[in-house]
Structures are given as structure tokens and as C-alpha cells.
């Protein structure tokens, strides 16, 4: 007991020394973000670790069914090769570990390097810059290690247990676990370092102001690539088996395939093509590590030392190119001062605020991944048909759904909350035009894509009738979706605190998923039916319009009942005073 106490007191004394304090400071900044403002979504370390561990653990548990010997016997699988059967699952776990770790690195993108606040607080103190650099590097290594271990811990225990559980030799399970743990750990490290190296290289190659400007787009692109890897993780393994026959397959360029090759190499199951990719994995890991290290060191020297000279502001003059669009919209669609001022504010926040651009871009990225998969499966080995298939019809619907839901989601994310006093001061809180403004913003983002991109494509391939009907259906359903999403919306976007977690949040999330299927799959099937029979087509359009009108009226009546603009999402009162003695008023 005494020994333990003395160790604890030694540790307490150690972490209060200058260098460990610097490391802790860097870890806090990386973890909680650079701004640390009240609008940052602050998650505790414990909660984050729990969230990161869930996917691997959950996916492993689902596999007990596949590898259980009793269930195999029931299925009549007498000759079961566990290593061959585990290949697709191994690929999935590699992708999962890369996606989760890459996602975390993307989240920490802005705080990997010390920021202006660190500079102002630390540089005047008698601490060498090299020590600040070293402390930050150690913080990155600690957090990366923690993240990698956490992401892969559950799958490293449960997956080998499910595969090796039915095998007579314990050695098999141990070997399997060792190889799996090593491969997923290296894959995670590769993913983290790849994102890290991208930040460092961009910072190194581009002027700082340009780096700040393009950062959200690069992050969105990387996030889309990670999502694409995850969404194809069930189809790629079957193609990997064909690798020996197609040596020039594009699969050779996928990093998860390299690590699968490395895994097979360690298990002695790799054919020459996979073995080659396995060696490539180790080579790529070494290259990425070296790149990350060099880029980090050089960009640290280049940027941190000159941090006060580098403005965080976007370069050049703002808003000059867009002013004619606002004048045009003022004439055509923006009727009141609230709508005119609000529209300018919303558009500028969406285009200039990194977190918002990133979140909206993420939703659009998901849409693009799903749409490209749908397009691929729709045209896989098939030519053009007189009528487009339901899959083909659903593509603009998928993109519109993800874009609209993304923008609606982003509206709830606050931007510089402390600056919202101007709206609190000037806006008439009893008149609620927020839904009208939000609807205009959403439609201004989605409609040009439908009219200027989707419509000409359908016109080119399927003629006027199909393209016009499709345009009509898309517009009606887009308006319907917008109306549904804006029921109860009483905010000026970005000016309200984060919505509180409500018990209905899980149901809302499920509604979004079901809404996706209703909006994309069911609508496109109904539309296909309508296209093949014109009378039904007319009925379908009329019913769609009626549904839109009903939802529109419901939303209007909701506004009339609760008309007050919100700046703070406060919890509902546990008790409500009915004021019966005052006549209920």
C-alpha cells in the first residue's frame, strides 16, 4: 500500500514537471481542438475510446455465427478451411481499422500542429522551441498509439477467438491472433501517418493562407475515399481472388489490399501477386512514416516559428464575385430583410467556415460513394435500355437526399456563437421566417444540380418525356423532403447552441435511414412504373403534389403554434405551470 502510494506520488510529481506538462498540454489541444470554444463538440477521452472500440468489437461478435463448429455442422460444412473463410473478414477488419484511425486523424487535422494560442503562451516563456516540438511529437505518438490499440483491441481478441475457437489446436488461434493484431495495427498506423503526411506536405508545399483555404476540400476528399473503402469492403475480397489472373487490376492501388497481402504473406497463404502487394505494404508504411516525419519537422520549422506572421484569414478580397448573385436573388426569391441578410450570412458561413463546409461535404461525399456504387451496379455489363432502370433513376435522388440532409444537419452546428448577439439584438423573435430562409438555402443548393446536370444527362440518353417526368418527380420530392426536414425549425442557421440530446434522437436517426430508402428506392421504383404507364405517371405526380401540400400545411400550422426564434436549445421544463387561476394565459 505504502509502495503504491509512493509510486503514485512520484508519478504526480513527474507529470507536474515542465516537459510532461508540455506533453499534456499538446495532448489536450490535439484532443479537444484548437479553438476550445464553447461551440466545439467536446467529447471526453473515455467516451471517444469507447466509441472507437465499438465497431471492431461489434463486427467480431457477429462473426461467431460464421465460424461456430456446431452451426457449420448444422449447415453441412464438413470441409471448412478457416483461413480461406477468414480472408474477406480479415479484409473488412483492415479497412475498418484504417477508416476509423484515418477518421480520427482527419478530426485532429487542425490541431496536430501547435497553434497561435500555443505560440502566444509558450514562446515568451523560457522554453526552447525544440522542446515544444518534441513535446508535441510525443503527444502525437501517445495519442496515435492509444487510438490504434483501442480501435483494434476488441477485434484482435474476439475475431481470432471466433475463428480459432472451433479449431482443435490452441496454437492456431494464437498464431491467427498475432498476425491479425500485427496487420491491423500496421494498417491503422499507415492510415494515420498517411493523413498526417498529407497535412504536413500540403503545409510544406503551399502558402499558409492557401493551405487554410483548401484544407476542408482535401479533408472531404480523404473522408470520401475512406468511406468508399468501407462501402466496397464486402465486394473487393471476391475480386482479390482473381488477382493472379488480372495482374493489371486497379485493386493493386488500394492500400487495404496491400495489407491483406502482407497478412496472407505472414500466414504463408499468399500467391505471388498478393505477396508482391504484401511487400509493398511494408515499403509504403516506411515511405509514409518518413514523409510524415520530414514534412512535420520542416513544416513545424516553417510555420510554427513564423506563426504570428501568418494570418488565419482567407487571402484576398472576399465576396466580390458573389455580389451579383445576391442582387439577382434579392430581386427573385428573397423577399424580406431577414431573408436577404440571412441568406448572405448562411451562404458565407457554409462556404468559409471549415467545420460547416466539411460536415456538408461529408454528407455529399457519402452520397457520391453510394451513387457511384449504384451507377456501377446499374451499368455493370449492361447497355442502355429504352427506359432507365430504377437504379439509374435513383442516382440524382441519392445525391439530393444526402446533400439536403447534410445541409439540414449543418444548420444545427453553431458558428462563433458569441457573435450571435447581433441577431439577438436585431431580429424580431416573434416572427419566424427561419424555415422560409432555410428552404430557400436548401433548394438553391439542390435545384441547380438537378436542372443543370441531371436533366441534360437524362435528356441526352432517354429523350424529352423521360427527362421531363424525372425532373418533375425530383422537384416535387425534393420540396417534400425539404418541408419534412424543416418541420419545427425555428432558428437562424448556425446561431443557436447545439441541440440537446433527446430521447427521440435514436428514432430520428432511424427515420433518416428509412427516409433514405423511401426517398431513393421506393420513389425510383414508383417513377419507373409511372414512366412505363403514362396514366399511372400522371396519378403519381398528382399524389406527390398532394402529399407535398399536406406536409407544407402541417409545417405552417406548426410554426403558427410555436412562433419564436430560438437562440438556445433549452431542455423542456419538467413541470409546466398551467396558470389556471389566470384563465390559463
Amino acid at each position: 500500500m505504502t509502495r503504491r502510494t509512493s509510486l503514485a506520488s512520484k508519478w504526480d510529481a513527474y507529470i507536474c514537471r515542465p516537459f510532461p506538462l508540455l506533453v499534456r498540454l499538446s495532448m489536450n489541444r490535439i484532443f479537444h481542438g484548437s479553438n476550445g470554444g464553447e461551440e466545439e463538440l467536446n467529447i471526453s477521452m473515455g467516451l471517444l475510446l469507447a466509441l472507437l472500440a465499438i465497431p471492431g468489437g461489434f463486427a467480431s461478435l457477429l462473426l461467431f455465427d460464421k465460424y461456430g463448429s456446431f452451426l457449420q455442422w448444422l449447415r453441412g460444412q464438413t470441409k471448412f478451411d478457416p483461413l480461406a473463410a477468414a480472408l474477406p473478414d480479415e479484409y473488412f477488419f483492415i479497412v475498418l481499422s484504417m477508416v476509423v484511425t484515418g477518421g480520427v486523424a482527419l478530426w485532429w487535422w487542425d490541431s496536430i500542429f501547435p497553434d497561435r494560442r500555443d505560440f502566444v503562451n509558450l514562446v515568451p516563456l523560457p522554453i526552447a522551441t525544440s522542446r515544444i516540438f518534441l513535446a508535441n511529437s510525443i503527444a502525437i505518438v501517445i495519442l496515435t498509439g492509444l487510438c490504434v490499440i483501442d480501435v483494434n483491441a476488441a477485434s484482435s481478441v474476439l475475431f481470432p477467438a471466433s475463428v480459432g475457437g472451433a479449431q482443435p489446436a490452441f496454437r492456431f488461434a494464437m498464431q491467427f491472433a498475432g498476425v491479425h493484431a500485427l496487420v491491423v495495427t500496421l494498417a491503422s498506423v499507415f492510415s494515420f501517418l498517411a493523413v498526417f503526411a498529407s497535412t504536413g506536405l500540403l503545409l510544406l508545399l503551399l502558402p499558409y493562407a492557401l493551405f487554410r483555404r483548401i484544407s476542408p476540400y482535401v479533408r472531404t476528399l480523404i473522408a470520401t475515399m475512406l468511406l468508399a473503402a468501407l462501402s466496397t469492403s464486402f465486394t473487393v475480397p471476391s475480386m482479390i481472388l482473381d488477382l493472379p489472373r488480372f495482374s493489371h487490376s486497379p485493386l493493386r492501388f488500394l492500400p487495404p489490399v496491400w495489407f491483406l497481402g502482407f497478412c496472407q504473406l505472414l500466414r504463408g497463404r499468399a500467391d505471388p501477386s498478393l505477396a508482391k502487394l504484401g511487400y509493398l505494404a511494408i515499403f509504403a508504411l516506411a515511405v509514409v512514416a518518413a514523409l510524415a516525419l520530414i514534412a512535420y519537422a520542416v513544416s513545424y520549422q516553417r510555420c510554427f516559428v513564423r506563426l504570428l506572421e501568418l494570418a488565419d484569414a482567407p487571402p484576398g478580397h472576399l465576396g466580390l464575385r458573389m455580389s451579383w448573385i445576391f442582387s439577382l436573388f434579392d430581386l427573385l426569391i428573397l423577399r424580406t430583410p431577414f431573408q436577404r441578410a440571412g441568406y448572405r450570412f448562411v451562404l458565407k458561413t457554409l462556404s468559409r467556415n471549415e467545420a460547416h463546409a466539411l460536415a456538408a461535404g461529408g454528407f455529399l461525399g457519402v452520397g457520391m460513394v453510394i451513387a457511384s456504387r449504384t451507377l456501377f451496379s446499374a451499368f455493370n455489363g449492361k447497355g442502355l435500355t429504352p427506359l432507365p432502370s430504377a437504379d439509374v433513376l435513383s442516382i440524382p435522388l441519392i445525391l439530393s437526399y444526402c446533400l439536403v440532409v447534410g445541409i439540414r444537419f449543418v444548420f444545427d452546428v453553431p458558428a462563433h456563437l458569441q457573435a450571435n448577439w447581433i441577431f439577438r439584438l436585431l431580429l424580431e423573435r416573434s416572427i419566424d421566417e427561419s424555415a422560409a430562409l432555410a428552404r430557400r438555402v436548401v433548394l438553391c443548393f439542390a435545384v441547380p444540380g438537378i436542372v443543370l446536370v441531371a436533366f441534360p444527362i437524362y435528356l441526352h440518353y432517354w429523350g424529352w418525356t423521360v427527362s421531363l417526368v424525372h425532373l418533375g418527380v425530383m422537384m416535387i420530392w425534393l420540396m417534400l423532403l425539404t418541408e419534412v426536414l424543416l418541420v419545427g425549425f425555428r432558428k437562424l442557421p448556425f446561431t443557436c447552441t447545439y441541440p440537446l440530446f433527446q430521447h427521440s434522437a435514436v428514432i430520428v436517426a432511424m427515420a433518416y435511414v428509412f427516409g433514405y430508402f423511401a426517398f431513393t428506392a421506393i420513389t425510383s421504383e414508383l417513377e419507373l412504373e409511372a414512366l412505363s404507364r403514362p396514366v399511372r405517371g400522371m396519378v403519381f405526380l398528382v399524389i406527390s403534389l398532394c402529399v407535398w401540400y399536406v406536409v407544407h400545411r402541417v409545417r405552417k400550422s406548426f410554426v403558427e403554434v410555436r412562433e419564436c426564434l430560438l437562440f438556445e436549445d433549452t431542455p423542456a421544463a419538467a413541470f409546466e405551470c398551467l396558470h389556471l387561476s389566470d384563465g390559463g394565459c
Binding site: A313, L318, K348, R352, H416, Q418, A419, I422, R424
Partner: protein, 255 residues
């Protein structure tokens, strides 16, 4: 023009402001003084309508401001204590947005904004994001935003904070000129010299309550000190600044 009647604000049963009563007429410049935590900011927030009083009322031209906050705010210009602005907007974009929200017609608005930006030396950086502005530049943007719609009542909370010497001189003259034009100005500050130079009336708060309220000359005559600094020290300060200074130096020198 503006009347605060027994304004009281409690934060979770802790009183921040208690029964603050004062009156501000057109042409008067009322300086609000008080040590940190005396309730100045809470009072300002209540008279701008940003904060609802726990008790008491604010009347503007005899009408409770809560009855029609929008028309009250239409006639109010406000410069808050902290220059909290949207850093990704340019100064011109921000002012244009404020002008639109105030209902100023577009062609007139653009011209007015540009002229005011030029007069307050912000024209060259009007299209730059406010993230790159200094504190003084942000303060000048806030000042333009407050003056844009020719308000009858001006509430200024530490408006000189961060301003350079020439901008501060311009602002002091401007406040006096606005007073002469018949506008009511509520001026909150810690800088006693400026309050002495600019304000015709004084409101001194301490621990959330009014310590003294009236014309600057009357108060000084009553207390018997010629300078505002001595008057303020006489009314508010419990500590001897000379003794505190000596104590601090002793602590710094201690091994």
C-alpha cells in the same frame, strides 16, 4: 427618453443587479461607472433588451421596451463590451448584413457603409476577413454598425477599448456632438478621464446597486472633490492603492 425602474437581475438566486433606477433624457450623456462585478454589463444587457430583468422595467419614451422590442431596437445603437464578430465575414459584408436587417434600402446602404468605412479609416481593408482585423478595427466596425441607422439612443460599453489615439479622439468628439444633436447616450467605461471629459451625467454602481446618480457637476460638488478620480475613489474604493502597490512589490521581491 430612457427610464430604468428598479431593475433587478438574479442569476440562480445570486443578485447581480438590485433595484437600479435612473433616467436618461435626449441630449444627455450618462456615464456608467463601477468596479468589476458591480453590475454594469448586466444593466447594459437589460436596457438593450438582451436580458430580461428578474424584476423592474425599462421604459423608452414612456413605453415598456418589452412590449415592442423590435421598434425599440430600431431606434437603438449598441456597441458591446467585447468585439464579437463573425471572423470569416469582411467588414463591409458584416455592415451590409446589419444594414439589411435594420431595413435600410440597398443603394443608400452601400453608399453609407462605404463612406463611414472611409471616415473611420477602414476602407482599404473593407473586403478583408475580420479575422485579420486588429481589436481597434473591430471596435470601429461595431461603432459603424451602431451608428448606421441614425439611432435616437446610443448604448456604448467600453467603446474606446483598443482604439488608437486619433480614433479615440474622433469618438469622444462624436459622442459629444451626438449629445448636442439631442441623442441620448449611455456610456459605460472604466476610464474615468474619458467619462469626465464626455459625460454630462453619472451613474455609479457598486455591488449591483446604485451608489450615486445625477449630473457630474452636482455629484462632484456634493462629494467635495474636484476630479472624478477622487470622487470615484471616495465612493467606491475600499482599498488604499498606495498600500496595495507596496504589498505587490514586496511579494515580487520575496525569495
Amino acid at each position: 427618453m430612457l427610464q430604468a425602474i428598479e431593475l433587478t437581475k438574479h442569476y440562480a438566486s445570486i443578485p447581480a443587479v438590485q433595484k437600479v433606477t435612473f433616467q436618461l433624457e435626449g441630449g444627455q450623456i450618462l456615464g456608467c461607472l463601477g468596479p468589476n462585478g458591480s453590475g454594469k454589463s448586466t444593466t447594459v444587457k437589460m436596457i438593450t433588451g438582451l436580458l430580461e430583468p428578474s424584476r423592474g422595467r425599462v421604459l423608452f419614451r414612456g413605453e415598456d421596451i418589452r412590449r415592442d422590442l423590435v421598434s425599440y431596437r430600431k431606434r437603438l445603437g449598441y456597441v458591446p463590451e467585447e468585439p464579437n464578430l463573425y471572423p470569416y465575414l469582411s467588414g463591409r459584408e458584416y455592415l451590409e448584413m446589419v444594414g439589411i436587417l435594420r431595413g435600410i434600402p440597398q443603394p443608400k446602404l452601400g453608399k453609407k457603409v462605404d463612406t463611414l468605412l472611409a471616415l473611420l479609416s477602414l476602407y482599404p481593408s473593407r473586403h478583408s476577413a475580420m479575422a485579420s482585423y486588429s481589436k481597434g478595427m473591430r471596435q470601429r466596425v461595431l461603432l459603424i454598425a451602431a451608428l448606421l441607422d441614425d439611432p435616437e439612443l446610443l448604448i456604448l460599453d467600453e467603446p474606446l477599448s483598443g482604439l488608437d489615439v486619433s480614433s479615440a479622439l474622433v469618438l469622444k468628439n462624436l459622442i459629444r456632438a451626438l449629445g448636442e444633436q439631442g441623442k441620448a447616450v449611455f456610456y459605460c467605461s472604466h476610464v474615468l478621464e474619458v467619462v469626465e471629459q464626455v459625460c454630462s451625467h453619472l451613474l455609479i454602481l457598486r455591488q449591483g446597486a446604485v451608489l450615486v446618480c445625477g449630473s457630474t457637476g452636482d455629484i462632484q460638488k456634493r462629494i467635495g472633490h474636484s476630479s472624478l478620480e477622487r470622487t470615484f475613489h471616495h465612493l467606491v474604493d475600499d482599498v488604499d492603492p498606495g498600500q496595495v502597490t507596496r504589498d505587490i512589490i514586496d511579494v515580487i521581491r520575496a525569495a
